[in-house]
């Protein structure tokens, strides 16, 4: 299993459109991918579960991947999130 921690420094946290991007990207991988944050856990392949986490600005997000492509999946998701953080 691989995991990374990210701080959502962007203005809106993990709101609907980014959550949709995250879900779509996570679904491309075979590994089981979960998100933890705000005291909640979500299946990264379920948009609604991510939205119910309510990750706001400054919130910490842990991404865990377990499976055959865990390294690639974490790398791809990290790049996606870092892209948003750069945008602010």
């Amino acid at each position: 299993m691989v995991e990374i921690k990210l701080i959502m420094t962007n203005k809106l946290g993990l709101h609907a459109r980014p959550a949709a991007e995250f879900t779509k990207l996570a679904a491309r991988f075979k590994s089981k991918i979960t998100l933890e944050g705000n005291g909640k856990t979500a299946d990264a392949k379920s948009l609604l579960m991510i939205l119910t986490m309510g990750i706001r600005q400054g919130g910490e997000l842990t991404v865990k991947a377990d499976g055959p492509d865990e390294i690639e999946s974490i790398e791809a998701l990290k790049n996606l999130v870092e892209g948003w953080l750069k945008e602010g």
């Binding site: 879900t23 779509k24 679904a27 392949k45 609604l48």
Partner: protein, 130 residues
Amino acid sequence: MVGIVIVSHSMKLAEGVKDLAEQMADQQLKIIAAGGMEDGGIGTDAMKICRALQAANSADGVVVLADLGSAILSAQTAMELLDEEYGSLISIADAPIVEGAISAAIQASIGGTLTEVIHAAEEARGLLKL
């Protein structure tokens, strides 16, 4: 890819839900709005829904999201009219129309099956906002 039809009493509401879901969905995804009556008034029209179902259909099936009351009845009438052609390829999700449509659109975009897309839409029933 599973198609999606939005059935509402209001044309504007159906179009709005479609626009919102399309923002997050794959460009290939077919989301068809079937809101209001033929003349643009408030109501639901089984024939309009029929055409929407035909337009949304691919070999993978169609999921219907509907607002209230007769929207469901009109959608069922439309499904009966198309039963010979499509049979179990069309299904109504028992879900709130906005959240359900967005969730369904994402699941369909990532290649979900008809059953998976319905499940994703129905997950929205348990969505807490606060």
